[in-house]
Symmetry: C2
Subunit: 231 residues, 2 copies
DNA sequence: ACCTGAACACCGTTCAAGT
DNA sequence: ACCTGAACACCGTTCAAGT
């Protein structure tokens, strides 16, 4: 069942420019894994996790609902592919050449977080999904950079997971609060109504504090201080 | 629509012992929010998120499928209630009285993580759910303890979110890897097959490193060091 | 107040068949 | 190799009706 995959993947090298006139008319280009994934991401952006239905996806692609199943095993695979496609990382060359390991780590992790926040569904999807190639590439880069920074091999996995955990948690939390303003308002209202039970967090307006970026950066700095002291 | 809730909640004080003979026979006790939530948790433990169906839940409760809808608005609410019910925290008295703020924070957060790992579905559920009373209680306790530890009000929200983010991320990651051993093995195998692309993490056996508890504790210590220096 | 069965709308996927 | 419509199994929920 996994064997099918690699063959399909290699179709991405097809040239589609040949018979394509300047302004695309009614007739859609042929189905392809690429088009399916791209459209799935659009649909997820627009309608969220629950909004992705196979029929709706096929509609957007101008194909019959069942045509998808030639390119894809099932809906789960659409999720996997959409998630990983959103997490591609292009390392900026000037950073890769500098010796600033800390800047490099921070840049990659902030980019990671930004990518996921651009597609809020990705945060809630990630916990249940496999590690795709783009995710693995980021872990690989993180590992190499930390190694260059002097983190010992024995501490490496704990270091990587600490950072990963932190970014995951921050992103998931932020994304789930960000989903709708009504939800936030409702939550804060409920909190105020219950303020006798939760006086401290009610007072600090915890749920309304929106300096997420600052809080993220602060915690990340603490972690990096601890992981590679004396740098 | 939210008004209905509080009235239903108060039914938990019903005594059910009256007509209950020693060994429970065929006839189930009457439906109640409590029984529904308890059984939902059992079902989630046994079958995972996708295994919770309203009909199956009703079956386990010995009732018709539609009877649930008198106690509950919809399936979403079942998820919300099951999640929060699993996150109750009973603060151990000897810790509350000690002046050891750090021990108290670590205890609560490790208990949080342990509770979620006992019910792996909870980790993947949390990102999309509202903050229930038990979650808010933990945030309240965290806030009070950090305040006692000398964290300034201005830094409080960043401190709380840093810790929250870290625990969330660690738990979600761990739980999603823990779901099935086959998945882990498959992932590592795929990784080995692709080892040319990911030499560093392949070498460090990142995906097989199973000292999750140690890694969790280490990162947490770094964060606490940073959040309340000089303690 | 509490429970129920029948029925509806919807959705993922199988299948047998087209080109 | 690639696409399709009809059909099936399943599931959340509405409704009108029971006690």
């Amino acid at each position: 069942m996994a064997a099918k995959r690699s063959g399909v993947q290699s179709k991405r090298s097809q040239r589609t420019s040949a018979s394509q006139s300047a302004h695309e008319p009614r007739s859609e280009p042929p189905l392809s894994l690429e088009r399916i994934v791209t459209t799935a991401v659009e649909l997820l952006d627009a309608q969220g996790v629950d909004g992705l239905k196979m029929r709706r996806l096929a509609d957007r692609l101008g194909s019959g609902a069942m045509s998808l199943y030639w390119h894809v095993d099932n809906k789960e695979e659409v999720f996997d592919l959409a998630l990983d496609s959103v997490l591609e990382y292009r390392e900026p060359p000037q950073i890769a050449e500098s010796r600033d390991w800390r800047g490099e780590v921070v840049h990659m992790l902030e980019d990671w977080r930004a990518s996921m926040l651009r597609h809020p569904w990705s945060a809630s999807l990630l916990p249940r999904r496999a590690l795709g190639p783009n995710i693995l590439s980021r872990l690989e880069l993180l590992s190499k950079t930390l190694s260059r920074a002097g983190v010992a091999d024995a501490d490496m996995n704990a270091a990587i997971w600490s950072l990963w955990n932190y970014v995951m948690g921050a992103t998931i939390t932020r994304a789930s609060f960000d989903l709708s303003d009504e939800d936030m308002a409702a939550a804060q209202q409920r909190l105020t109504r219950l303020s006798e039970h939760y006086p401290t967090i009610e007072r600090s307006r915890l749920l309304l504090d929106n300096d997420w970026d600052g809080a993220f950066r602060k915690g990340l700095d603490f972690l990096l201080d601890g992981l590679a002291p004396g740098q």
